[in-house]
Amino acid sequence: MATAAVMAERENYLNKEYGIRSWLLTTDHKRIALLYLISITFFFFIGGFFALLIRLELLTPAGDLVQADTYNKLFTMHGQIMVFFFLIPSIPAVLGNFLVPLMIGAKDLAFPRINLLSWYLYIIAGIMMLHCIVTGGVDTGWTFYTPFSTAFSNTKVIEAGLAIFVAGFSSILTGLNFVVTIHRMRAPGMTWSRLPLFIWAHYATSIIQLLGTPVLAITLVLVVFERAFNLGIFDPTRGGDPLLFQHLFWFYSHPAVYIMILPSMGVVTEIIPCFARKRIFGYKFVAASSIGIAVLGFLVWAHHMFVAGISLYSAMIFSLLSYLVAVPSAIKVFNWTATLFKGSITFSTPMLYAFGFIGLFTMGGLTGLFLAALGIDVHVTDTYFVIAHFHYIMVGGAVMGYLAGMHYWWPKISGRMYPEWLGKFAALIVFLGFNLTFFPQFLLGYMGMPRRYWQYPPEFQVLNVLSTAGSTILAVGYVLPMIYFLWSMRYGEPAPDNPWGASGLEWTIQSPPTTFNFEETPEVTWEAYDYEHIPAPEEVPVER
């Protein structure tokens, strides 16, 4: 094709240099984003493999597929890998890394070398984690609750703790880079009220990464010290308080949920206006709700501890505050819906994922109301209800958003189009598989099946079989995009600069971009999402 030849001649960040050194020593934010993409995909499939083993074990009530200890290690490492090595870096370190400079009109992040360092830290942490897994694993649950983790577990707690400690620093450096970049590197005219909401979401995410992660880091250091040197800081037999560990742990780990979901919300907020050809409804409120979530998210952590033995009064305070954080999430859902009103909607793959996101996130959010209600939390916490709830948020929400974003920006990242029909098909499979996997778990939880059970009473079997069946469908839905993305890198249609007719600076430059993104620093004179001035895709003159 003639277009392909023309495309191939254009210099971009991918074909500018070749060779392993040009990748491993790169300071280009786009290349680092791809390094992250490859590494988190690797960990996603490891974590997913563990998840499948867990589901297979739960196919029957008896503990027959794996040993109890193996099962405990499986869910522990599934959690640790998915949370710390996939979800937290997923959108920020891949899409955020790629897009934050492009969207604000900068040549790179403020600290390119620190950006590369953060990837290396991530890789070091990843290798430590893998080493931990192959040499025996860890069985404390991803939550590391003391005194089990410090005094009773016989597994590699120290190594896993240090791996997550290092991964935490990687996350801090990413957040630091974003905050400074967003403050200092915006193109002329790119005022705060013109920023894409994706940037607002990443700004809020970075705040959480910066102020939450260090607390987790110090907590893990104390756990490691306690285990290594036989101290008693969290050990009740030596005067320590195990609840203190839980307080410090959840001070980070609750806001960490927002590290995962906020960037997804940002992605969806980009996609919906684009495929509805409309300005976002209530820009200011959506932006403010991101910051609101980031701040209020720090005030609610002890709702994970309502039955853990905290005082009655603090439980009440935390329950009330938990409801406050639901308000900004509701605002977002309402605004997305309102944006559709009187739009001109097309159903491309990213839009399908975005619809899926809204649906699943709404269900996840509403079930959160159950858990924040003290009386009900007592019954459903630590059961499969909680498992279902947070998978609706983290998988139904964060991963759907991640896939939506990958499809939406894939033409910009790779310069190629993916096969649209296959994309829609995969989106459908993911949505169905997901619901079949996790909806039964709400019912299981309400019936009283506790989490982290290797074997269970037979009356729970039917729902577990459904869930396991769903998980295999879900697995297919996740493998498909990986295959066709890889396929499209070689055989896909070359992508035009702006295939969706989208607003935003990243679409004003070539696909894929050059190393320094912008030939000259752009001057922004328009508001975000000014879809009245951008022609829809067919009306764009064919690229030549």
Binding site: L243, H247, F298, W301, S311, L312, I317
Partner: protein, 95 residues
């Protein structure tokens, strides 16, 4: 940021103040003030920290509001951590 070059006299003045406060805080701790010992020690420490932040770290002379925002928000977050944890510990006895 700190285009402003401060006179070295001011630096020496701050240094003398910090040294004096150190000696004072150590000395006061030997005097029985009841519960006020802790309060005095923390007030002096905060005052010293303020001197360092404002003068040695040039925050007093920076025109940048952002730096102050970063400092204030980090202290605010520390306050959240301490206050809400203590909300549990201080009310446990009542329930």
């Amino acid at each position: 940021m700190s285009e402003h070059i401060m006179s070295s006299k001011l630096y020496y003045g701050i240094w003398i103040a910090l040294m004096c406060l150190t000696v004072i805080t150590a000395a006061v701790s030997f005097v029985d003030l009841g519960p006020f010992n802790t309060i005095v020690a923390l007030v002096i420490a905060t005052f010293k920290a303020l001197l360092v932040v404002l003068f040695f770290m040039h925050v007093k002379y920076t025109s940048e509001k952002l730096t102050k925002a970063v400092i204030i928000s980090s202290i605010f977050w520390l306050f959240i951590l301490l206050a809400l944890s203590l909300a549990d510990y201080s009310t446990r006895l009542f329930s």
